[in-house]
């Protein structure tokens, strides 16, 4: 760590991990509700648990991105952060907003919450992933703008590298596309059409820029490969991500009332979306193989490689499985979508944030790397979580295939609930894998508390 | 230089030929095969001469030529399929 102000990243990362734990606990509740329908009813109905699960994911990933930005932008710009104080104020505002929102979901009926928070003035709530009350949405915008001001000033006055420019472009895009969450026309087709401008253009657009910048930053640090080479790769990867991903938005427009030509445009371009993810895998392995030094932080290298592989599997392969319109006609809105969503978010975004945390946390705690024992525990947590996620995905895929067969393809289609009963076994297996994931996560958190002499490069 | 001019004239001639076949109101295999062959030759000229990929080391030339052959071949197949 070269600059004192990079330390503001630490609370962001701690908050991220804390909320991650919350996300997983609610995930387990939902998983159980899939098979024991009345579990915790009426205290926590499924829709509330899901809202908490997905919103916690979004909030903690945002914490992770912000923390990463506050860490890497000063280092790349070679100067102190414009205002560390502003960054800390924003941290507390964002944390308070996030926690209040979650508590609101849990303890206030959603309709009452909507009324209390001014949803009748500007109705934006009740749409998937954008359930946040109006004040929270405004808060997100304020926090994002304050952060962008802070980071932009730092970059403007400092060194401009591909990494900090791409990170900044990604974060600006994140803030700008979020503005579409305030547009909620009565016409449900238009509503859905522009809803994707937030959701798709985030996760299959600007977030990939943020992800690429974070991965490139860590790879430069842990491999010592020439910056020119890594930055060239970064540009090529994110160029492909946007070239395929922007029109790839069309794969969400097949069945929501948009014109049918989207079936062609969406299929062709989203079929190419695996390319940038595949390049990311090649990139990570290539750079590690060409490394010029042995970094003592083995765990961070493992996470970086894991990100490349799992992002490709989850976002690339599992995305491709059901992106072509004729296939998607049957798979749309089934457990296949859930399978893809789980592995893609874990492989791409969860893992890249953990990569960043894994690399930076020891530095912020005053050592190049954690003790060998702490690293071994962390690597165990890597394998437990990753393997558990692979199994969650496989079980959900199996459930999805069976569901589609029974409910949509068979000559005598079953009703939704009848089909759900038939696939219950896979939901039980998924819940089991989820418990393993939780154990992995607890181990991960535990690894922060293992003391010992810092590892050195051997 | 002169070679390039010759190739250019060749491209124009082949275009005129394809156009003429269509204007003559021909259809089916009578137009499919000569037009696709003309396109193949035209594409080959652009790839090998204009893009100057002929004689370039590495896979580039064959990838681009392969693309042309594959696309035209499958087009031919699809059109034959439609006729039968």
């Amino acid at each position: 760590m070269k600059y004192q102000s990079q330390m503001v990243a630490k609370p962001y990362f701690i908050a991220a991990i804390g909320l991650f734990l919350g996300q997983i606990l609610f995930g387990l509740i939902m998983g159980l509700q899939y098979v024991v329908g009345d579990f915790l009813f009426p205290e926590i109905p499924f829709n509330v648990a899901r809202m908490v699960h997905t919103n916690l994911l979004i909030v903690w990933l945002l914490f992770g991105f912000m923390g990463a930005a506050y860490y890497l932008i000063p280092e790349e710009s070679e100067r102190e952060l414009h205002s560390p104080k502003l960054a800390m104020v924003m941290f507390w505002i964002f944390l308070a907003a996030g926690v209040m929102t979650i508590l609101g979901y849990l303890f206030v009926p959603y309709a009452t919450l909507a009324e209390m928070t001014g949803n009748n003035l500007l109705a934006t709530m009740g749409r998937e992933f954008l359930e946040q009350p109006l004040p929270t949405k405004v808060g997100i915008v304020v926090v994002a703008l304050a952060m962008l001001y802070n980071l932009s000033m730092t970059v403007l006055r400092g060194r401009k590298t591909a990494i900090n420019l791409v990170m900044l472009v990604g974060l600006w895009g994140l803030a700008i596309f979020f503005l579409f969450s305030f547009y909620n026309p009565g016409n449900i087709v238009k509503d859905k059409y522009f809803w994707w401008w937030v959701v798709h253009l985030w996760v299959e657009g600007v977030w990939e820029l943020i992800m690429g910048a974070m991965l490139a930053f860590v790879l430069i640090k842990v491999t010592g490969v020439d910056r020119e080479v890594i930055e060239k790769w970064l540009y090529v990867i994110i160029a492909m991500a946007l070239i395929t991903g922007l029109i790839g938005t069309g794969h969400h427009y097949y069945w929501i009332g948009a014109p049918e030509y989207w079936q062609w445009w969406g299929s062709v371009f989203s079929a190419l979306e695996p390319i940038p993810f595949f390049m990311m895998t090649v990139f990570a392995f290539n750079m590690v193989n060409r490394r010029r030094r042995e970094h003592p932080n083995k765990a961070a290298v493992l996470w970086a490689l894991g990100t490349g592989v799992m992002a490709f599997l989850g976002a690339g392969v599992w995305g491709f499985l059901h992106t072509l319109a004729p296939v998607n006609f049957y798979t749309h809105g089934s457990q296949i979508t859930a399978a893809h969503g789980h592995m893609a978010f874990y492989g791409a975004y969860v893992m890249v944030v953990i990569t960043m945390i894994s690399y930076t946390m020891p530095l912020m705690r005053g050592r190049a790397a954690n003790s060998p024992l702490a690293q071994v525990v962390e690597m165990w947590s890597f394998w437990l979580m990753t393997v558990a996620m692979v199994f969650i995905t496989l079980f959900l895929t199996a459930a999805g295939i069976l569901q589609i067969w029974l409910q949509r393809i068979s000559d005598q289609p079953m009703s939704f609930m009848a089909a759900q009963d038939q696939v219950a076994l896979f939901y039980w297996l998924r819940e089991g894998a989820g418990v393993i994931f939780l154990i992995g996560l607890l181990l991960y958190i535990g690894s922060f508390f293992i003391k010992g002499k810092a590892a050195t490069a051997d | 230089m002169r070679v390039a001019t010759f190739q250019w004239l060749m491209l124009l001639t082949l275009t005129a030929l394809s156009f003429g076949l269509a204007e003559a109101g021909m259809s089916g295999s009578a137009v499919l095969i000569p037009v696709l062959l003309a396109t193949l030759v035209k594409g080959n000229i652009v790839i090998d001469r204009f893009m100057a990929l002929r004689g370039v080391k590495g896979p580039w030339r064959w990838i681009v030529l392969g693309w042309l052959l594959l696309v035209l071949g499958l087009i031919a197949y699809a059109f034959q399929l439609a006729q039968s």
């Binding site: 109905p45 959603y110 998937e128 359930e131 449900i188 020119e228 | -």
Partner: protein, 141 residues
């Protein structure tokens, strides 16, 4: 043919490609918006349907159900529920919740009054008449 592929070339491709494809997306969006009136059943967007959509949102229905395949996968697809079950069934169903059947998935009772129930049904009728290119594959959704 150029052999040296420089970082600045890669950067230009990134910025150029992003602008190019974003403009293409905007162009296609423009065309979509002009085509939508033929497909999105907007002529039936009555006041009641709009109120129904508001109820749909403020009860977080999307947290369990899908609508046109988007939402949670915990409960049935509702874009065509109007055709599958009819208006009276939908109202009776919502009033009858939760079933309380042990071990079964439970839907909360939202205590909607008669007018709100009608609004909800009208909203679901409106969605069932949107041209979704024949999705879902069958009536079960």
């Amino acid at each position: 043919m150029s052999s040296a592929f420089t970082k600045s070339a890669a950067r230009n491709i990134f910025y150029g490609g992003a602008v190019f494809f974003f403009l293409l997306l905007i162009g296609l969006t423009f065309d979509t918006m002009s085509t939508l009136p033929k497909r999105d059943n907007r002529e039936n967007l009555s006041e009641s349907v709009l109120r129904g959509k508001h109820i749909w949102e403020t009860r977080n229905c999307i947290g369990c159900h899908t609508l046109m395949g988007e939402g949670a996968y915990f409960a049935p697809e509702l874009v065509n529920v109007y055709k599958r079950r009819g208006p009276e069934f939908i109202k009776a169903w919502m009033q009858g919740q939760p079933t309380g059947a042990p071990g079964r998935r439970q839907m909360p009772n939202f205590h909607l009054n008669d007018e709100q129930l009608d609004d909800m049904v009208n909203f679901l009728k409106y969605t069932s008449e949107i041209n979704t290119s024949n999705w879902p594959p069958n009536i079960e959704g």
